[in-house]
Symmetry: C2
Subunit: 387 residues, 2 copies
């Protein structure tokens, strides 16, 4: 096991009918908050009203910014920062999924900064201080509700960049699985795919010493997500299934799964970010296309890790790791198809002739993330393996 | 999954050669600390010197209390409280295993209290404020390094009681697996047994909804501990094995394993505390005797849980859960014997005629812990199943 520091102060309030606690929790952070949300689905499913009622009861004044989209963009974040400054809000409240939470994090970091917020994403400036953040999670997948990561797209330069800082961690996040009952099938699956990608990137991306217990944790989360996703598509309002998906997404990326693995990277996310930045592909859809391609490449670098993962997760009898890796990839591909995810560039309407452009777009992020192996030719080779 | 709140702010610094960081970490808590440690093994293995050097370098003044024993007693804690008050220390530093850390926690809670510290353990007073606590862990097992629990024996009344409060959580804990290389074989095994007991109490003690992902986490930790313990006895200075044991012990009782399980109890600890209180049996040795007995009783109440646990952990082919539970108990008993743990009251030199007294001693703690099913006859019945 490699040395690690683990520090995660986010308070998780998980469960049925917990959204009503957001008022009293937010009141601990400030008397006036900026509420960040998306396209209005939270108004249709009643969550907006629940949150407003709870904030009002706790005496918290609310300023709003809405319309945050999937693959959230710099423009909205800049608007949010200006609004938060003008209104002198003391805290930020995100009501949504990863896109909303990440936008809220960028606002939290940007408000006290003396420079433009994009400087953080270029790696030019470090985050020293932030506004406190509370979250009500409504889509499972990103894990952003219990970590210090954030991803944002600069729509002018078509770059989707991601950074992490422990100061970005939410102070409190409310996870009510019932809030995800109305997430449509495609985004339910995209969230599960995001979780699987996080786990695979940790599990198969290490050259360090074995960590038996962390392996078991990651396998367990993966097994649960794979089963729960199919069930959620059949029974979208089954509470326990939604609870599994929600908690697994948090577990995959809150620092626990990766503890002791040494330096880990996000090579599939690296490539997917190009797809999202250039073609506005939903993050989970892009990942679903990249995962089998990257795994087939990774199985040549680390057959023992890819093989072991699938032996354990799919119950493939122990044997030649390379063979089992390939068999596992086929089974994962079959699962992706069963949960109605795209698995080819064609399904994303991206011609293969775009591959050089996609690879080139990924290079600045590869540099920021220090993924030195991921050169233009390597990324192109992986992309050519997309089915 | 049942509703839960998860909040664990302890900063874990895990790894090789990390003890030298204790000075700078402790300096953040105060300029003068009370260092709590045990019988002096930390002087033999060099850890005492490492800690002192690091504290000195960071400019932290140190007052010491040593001689904390296994099954730590109220007398030492009262002495520590008087010393801490007299010297006006600002923080407490525990260097040891569960006994030392729990004593340090009791001192942290007792110093600002206006009443005797035992009042907390009787459930008569709540903990409102504490001195901050830092830990250097030298024996894996209790999990106390990342939770708010503490156990103390009142040697006058022969009661071993345990309570929990989030204010008792260490601010920081340093976990260097190398610090456990010199833990003798019996205490190495006792620590692993303690971890297994925590997991079994969670896994088999719920009447609530299934929690697939938590099940997988607990199974994974159990599998790892069982394998690592045997290996550590053969190769006590194998770093990765010691790292597995250490991290598994923390994982089993830091709130993560039990998240979503609903109200869980510690029935095996309840019974074991009587053995420790009355006969000063090492905690892990007492648990090794109680575990198979309790499991055989529990397998009649919840065959599906006990059976599933062993199917998953020992790879017993799926089948009749009651049969598999019994088969699993036999396998666990064989493992306990392989790691040289006592598995009968006889091996603890306790005659069966003592059983009524043991059960009676457990009743106040059963009341404090609200383990209503654990009446005198039930505890006696379980005790009679000890091999």
């Amino acid at each position: 096991m490699e040395n690690f520091v683990l520090e995660n102060h986010t308070k998780i309030i998980f469960g049925q009918d917990t959204i009503g606690q957001i008022g009293s929790e937010t009141a601990l952070l400030g008397k006036k908050v900026l509420m960040v949300y998306g396209g209005g689905s939270c108004k249709e499913n009643g969550i907006y009203r629940l949150v407003q009622k709870s904030l009002s009861k706790a005496g918290v004044a609310v300023i709003e910014i809405s319309g945050i989209c999937a693959n959230p963009v710099l423009k909205h974040v800049r608007e949010g920062i200006a609004l938060a400054r003008g209104e002198k809000v003391e805290a930020v409240l995100a009501v949504g999924g990863g896109s909303v939470i990440d936008s809220a994090k960028a606002i939290c970091a940007g408000v006290p900064a003396e420079h433009d917020v994009w400087q953080f994403f270029r790696g030019k400036k470090g985050i020293r201080t932030t506004l406190p953040l509370a979250c009500v999670l409504t889509i499972a997948g990103s894990g952003s509700e219990m970590n210090g990561g954030m991803v944002l797209t600069n729509e002018e330069s078509a770059r989707k960049m991601g950074i992490g800082n422990k100061r970005l961690q939410p102070v409190v996040s409310i996870l009510d699985p019932g809030a995800t009952f109305t997430v449509p099938p495609d985004y339910t699956a995209y969230g599960a795919v995001d979780t699987i990608a996080h786990l695979l990137e940790f599990y198969c991306n290490k050259e360090a010493r074995q960590t038996p217990v962390q392996d078991r944790l990651m396998e367990g989360v993966a097994q649960t997500v794979i089963a729960a996703c199919e069930k959620a598509l059949l029974e979208p309002t089954d509470y326990d299934t939604r609870a599994d998906l929600m908690w697994c997404a948090t577990l995959a990326l809150n620092g626990w799964a990766a503890a002791g693995l040494g330096r880990v990277g996000f090579p599939m996310h690296l490539i997917e970010h190009s797809l999202s930045a250039l073609y506005n592909v939903p993050h989970g859809a892009g990942l679903a296309v990249v995962i089998p391609a990257w795994l087939s490449w990774q199985a040549e670098q680390q057959p023992e890790r890819v093989g072991l993962f699938f032996e354990r997760v799919f119950g493939i009898p122990e044997g030649d790791k390379k063979d089992n890796a390939l068999q596992g990839i086929d089974q994962l591909l079959a699962w992706l198809r069963r949960v109605q995810c795209p698995t080819s560039l064609t399904e994303l309407s991206i011609p293969a002739s775009e591959i050089p452009k996609i690879a080139e777009n990924a290079l600045p992020l590869a540099k920021l993330w220090r993924l030195r192996d991921y050169t233009q030719p390597v990324i192109e080779e992986i992309m050519h393996r997309c089915r």
